[in-house]
C-alpha cells in the first residue's frame, strides 16, 4: 500500500447463511440440533479495487448485489470470509442516520450522542456543534426533545451531524435523499465541498445523476463481482441500459403471461359453450332493438352484452360499441416479423388487426391510435382520414395491416386503441387500451415530451 492509496480491497468474498427457519429458542435448537437448514448465499465473489486519496468512487448495482456489504466491510462492521481490506486514515461511515437518537432527549443532547457514536471526542463535538446546528437550520427547536420533530426535521438533524464528521475516508450509503429539495441541494454541495478538502469518498447511490456529478469513477457490481469500472458517465450508461432492458423483459414476460392467461380462460369459457352462446344471441336481439330506437353514434353499453375480449387483447381493455362487427385479434410485430411489445425509437411497428361481422357491412372505417399510460392521447388516424379504399366487413375473419414506419415516440409505456366505425362514425367496436407496448429509453442525453421532433440549431 503506497501513501496515496486510501483504500485497497483485494479479492474479498462473503457468504451469508440464510436459515430457512431460524430457530432462536432453546426448543428449536434442541429439536433441530445438527440439522439446521440453511442455504449459503454468495454475496461477494472476489471483488478487488483501489481508491486513491481524494478520489470519489460510486458503487452501483441492483438491490442485493453486494454494494452495501462492500461498504460494511470497508467500515469494519463485517469481516470478509476471504481476501483483504486495507483502509488508511480515519473512516467515517454514514450508513445510518440518527444512530442512537433518544426521542426524549433534546436536539442538542442527541447531537452529542450521535456524534460520539460516530467516534468524535467531546472536544471535537464542542468545536463543531455550532456548525452542525446551523447546517440543520433547526436553531429554534434545538432544545426541544426530538420526538416533537417532524420526520423531515429529524433526518435533517441526523444528516447534519453525519456530514460534519470529518474523516479521511467517508462511506455513504444512500442517505442523500433527505429533507426537502433545498436541503438536499445543500447536502450535495456540502459533499462536494468535503471532496475538495481531499477526503476520499465512497458512495452507494441509485441516483446516477448525483454519482456523475460527484464521482471520478464508478464501479458496477453485479452478482458479487465487478462488472465494469470507469468513468461514471460511461459505466452508468451501460448500467442504465441493462437495467432498462431487464425491466422491459420482465414487462414483456408479464404481458405474455397475461395473454396466456387470457387464452386459457377463453378456452375454459368455450368449453361451456352453452352458456356463452346464450348471451351472444341475446346481444344480437338487443342489437336490433337498439338500432331501431336509437340510431345515434353513442351506445349505451348497459343495453348491450359486451362480447368477450379476444385473447390477444389486454384484459384491462375497455370496449364500447354495437358489435355488429367486432375485432377478433391484434398483434404487434417488430421489423423481423416477430411478435414483440418492446420497441426503440425509429423502429418500424407492424400492427395486424383482424375483425369480422355479424352481417356484411360496406364502407367501414378502422382507426388506430396511441395513448400514453398516463392517458395522454398521442396520435390517432383512420382509414377514412388516410383516404384508403373502403373496407368491406364480411361474416368471415379479415385482416388488415397497419405500419408505423418510423415510430418517433419517446420512451415510456403506451397503449394501442382500436376503433371500427361506419361511414358516419357510428361505433361498431371501439377498444381502448387494447395492447400495451413499451418504447425503450435509448438516449440518455434526455429529450423529453411525447414525440421526437425533427429540429436543428443555428448559431
Amino acid at each position: 500500500m503506497t501513501d496515496d492509496d486510501a483504500v485497497i480491497v483485494r479479492n474479498i468474498t462473503k457468504n451469508f447463511r440464510v436459515y430457512s427457519d431460524k430457530g432462536w429458542t432453546l426448543k428449536e435448537r434442541l429439536v433441530t440440533a445438527g440439522r439446521r437448514k440453511y442455504q449459503t448465499r454468495n454475496i461477494l465473489n472476489g471483488i478487488s479495487f483501489q481508491v486513491k486519496k481524494g478520489e470519489a468512487v460510486g458503487l452501483i448495482g441492483k438491490n442485493g448485489c453486494g454494494k452495501s456489504t462492500t461498504l460494511k466491510m470497508l467500515a469494519k462492521i463485517m469481516c470478509p470470509d476471504s481476501g483483504e481490506v486495507y483502509v488508511q486514515g480515519k473512516v467515517s461511515s454514514l450508513l445510518e442516520l440518527g444512530a442512537g437518537f433518544h426521542p426524549d432527549m433534546s436536539g442538542r443532547e442527541n447531537i452529542y450522542l450521535n456524534a460520539s457514536i460516530l467516534g468524535l471526542t467531546k472536544k471535537e463535538i464542542e468545536k463543531k456543534i455550532d456548525n452542525i446546528i446551523a447546517f440543520s437550520e433547526l436553531e429554534e427547536f434545538i432544545e426541544d426533545p426530538v420526538r416533537t420533530y417532524s420526520s423531515g426535521m429529524y433526518m435533517r438533524l441526523a444528516f447534519s451531524v453525519a456530514i460534519n464528521v470529518n474523516a479521511d475516508v467517508l462511506l455513504i450509503d444512500e442517505i442523500l435523499g433527505v429533507g426537502d429539495v433545498s436541503f438536499q441541494k445543500k447536502c450535495f454541495e456540502r459533499l462536494q465541498e468535503i471532496k475538495t478538502y481531499g477526503t476520499t469518498i465512497i458512495i452507494v447511490s441509485h441516483s446516477l445523476e448525483q454519482l456523475e456529478a460527484i464521482c471520478n469513477r464508478c464501479i458496477w457490481i453485479c452478482d458479487g463481482k465487478i462488472k465494469e469500472e470507469g468513468l461514471p458517465v460511461i459505466v452508468n450508461a451501460h448500467y442504465y441500459k441493462e437495467m432498462e432492458d431487464q425491466r422491459l423483459q420482465k414487462c414483456k414476460k408479464n404481458l405474455i403471461a397475461e395473454t396466456q392467461c387470457n387464452i386459457s380462460t377463453d378456452e375454459r369459457e368455450n368449453s361451456n359453450s352453452q352458456t356463452i352462446a346464450i348471451p351472444d344471441e341475446s346481444a344480437g336481439s338487443i342489437e336490433v332493438y337498439a338500432e331501431d330506437t336509437k340510431p345515434e353514434f353513442s351506445q349505451n353499453k348497459f343495453d348491450i352484452e359486451v362480447p368477450v375480449l379476444p385473447p390477444s387483447i389486454n384484459k384491462s381493455a375497455t370496449r364500447v360499441g354495437t358489435y355488429e362487427c367486432e375485432f377478433t385479434g391484434l398483434y404487434m410485430k417488430n421489423k423481423n416479423g416477430n411478435e414483440d411489445v418492446i420497441f426503440s425509437i425509429g423502429d418500424c411497428i407492424e400492427i395486424i388487426i383482424s375483425f369480422k361481422g355479424n352481417k356484411v357491412i360496406r364502407g367501414a372505417n378502422i382507426s388506430v391510435s396511441i395513448t400514453r399510460a398516463d392517458g395522454v392521447y398521442c396520435y390517432g388516424t383512420n382509414t377514412r382520414f388516410d383516404k384508403c379504399k373502403d373496407i368491406e366487413i364480411t361474416l368471415e375473419e379479415n385482416e388488415i395491416k397497419f405500419y408505423f414506419d418510423n415510430i418517433k415516440l419517446l420512451s415510456g409505456t403506451y397503449f394501442i386503441n382500436l376503433g371500427l366505425y361506419d361511414s358516419l362514425y357510428k361505433e361498431y367496436d371501439v377498444i381502448w387500451r387494447a395492447k400495451k407496448f413499451y418504447i425503450k429509453d435509448t438516449n440518455l442525453n434526455g429529450e423529453c415530451g411525447v414525440f421526437q421532433m425533427e429540429h436543428h440549431w443555428i448559431y
Partner: protein
C-alpha cells in the same frame, strides 16, 4: 490488546453518551423521573421488611438496615446480568450500521447501573445517619474497594452473557430464573450463620457471597472487612472479567450476521 485499549480511550465520549442516555433517558418521560431510581428500592425494602419482620420473622436486629445494605448491591449485580444480557441485542441497529468497539456496550450498560447504585448509596448513608445507626469511618474507607470488585465481577459476567445472548436468545429468560435462585443463595435476607458449616464451602463458591459479606461487615457490623474475604472476592472478580473480555472478543466477530 494494546490497540483496542487505545481505541476504547478514543471512544470514551461514546461511552459517556451511552451512560448518560441510559440514566437520563430511562425515566425522562415519567412524571417522577429520576426519583424512581430511589423509590424502587425503597418500596422493595418496605415490602421485604414487612414480610420478614412480621410474617416470617428473621430475628435479625435492625432488619431493614441489614436488608438495605445487602439488597442495593445485589440489585446492581442482578440487573447487570439479567437486563445486561440483552444490551448487545438491543443495540442491533447500531451494530449493523456503525463501527465502534462493541465492548463499549456492556461496559457502558454496567457502568450506568453502577452509577445508579452509587446514587442509591446516598440514600443508604442518609438512612444510617438519620436512624442514629451511625457508621465506622475507617471501615467505610474500604467500601470503594468492595464496590470496584463487585463492578468488575458484574462487568465480566455481563460481557459473557450479552455475547452469548446474540447467538442464543433464551439466555435472557433463563437468567431471570437463575437470578431468582441466586438471590436466595446469597445471604441478603438472612445471615450467613444460618447456613450449616458443612455446606458453607460450596456456598462460598458463589462469587457474590464474599462481596455481600464485605458490604455487611463494613456497614451493618461497622467493622473492617475480613481481608481474606476481600482477596477472595477480588481474585474471582478479576478472573471473571478476563474471561469475559476474552469471550466477548471471540464472539463479537459474527455479531452482525447473527443479529
Amino acid at each position: 490488546m494494546f490497540k483496542s485499549v487505545i481505541e476504547l480511550v478514543h471512544y470514551r465520549e461514546m461511552m459517556v453518551s451511552l451512560i448518560r442516555r441510559e440514566l437520563r433517558g430511562k425515566y425522562k418521560a415519567s412524571v417522577l423521573g429520576f426519583l424512581w431510581t430511589f423509590l424502587n428500592p425503597l418500596f422493595q425494602i418496605f415490602i421485604y421488611t414487612i414480610v420478614f419482620s412480621f410474617i416470617l420473622q428473621s430475628g435479625i436486629e435492625h432488619f431493614s438496615i441489614f436488608l438495605f445494605i445487602g439488597l442495593i448491591p445485589w440489585n446492581f449485580f442482578s440487573v447487570s446480568i439479567s437486563s445486561g444480557a440483552s444490551c448487545v441485542v438491543n443495540q442491533e441497529n447500531l451494530i449493523k450500521k456503525i463501527y465502534f468497539p462493541r465492548i463499549i456496550l456492556p461496559i457502558s450498560y454496567v457502568t450506568s447501573m453502577f452509577i445508579n447504585m452509587l446514587l442509591t448509596f446516598i440514600v443508604i448513608f442518609a438512612v444510617l445517619f438519620l436512624s442514629d445507626y451511625g457508621i465506622n469511618v475507617i471501615a467505610v474507607c474500604f467500601l470503594p474497594a468492595v464496590m470496584i470488585i463487585e463492578y468488575l465481577l458484574a462487568l465480566g459476567i455481563c460481557m459473557i452473557v450479552s455475547a452469548i445472548t446474540v447467538y442464543f436468545r433464551d439466555l435472557e429468560y433463563i437468567l431471570g430464573i437463575i437470578n431468582m435462585a441466586w438471590m436466595y443463595l446469597t445471604p441478603i435476607l438472612y445471615t450467613i450463620d444460618r447456613i450449616p458449616e458443612n455446606v458453607r464451602v460450596f456456598f462460598n463458591l458463589n462469587p457474590m457471597v464474599p462481596i455481600i459479606l464485605a458490604y455487611q461487615q463494613i456497614l451493618y457490623y461497622k467493622e473492617l472487612p475480613d481481608m481474606g474475604t476481600l482477596l477472595h472476592a477480588g481474585t474471582i472478580g478479576i478472573v471473571i472479567l478476563i474471561i469475559g473480555i476474552f469471550v466477548f472478543n471471540r464472539m463479537q466477530k459474527k455479531f452482525v450476521e447473527e443479529l
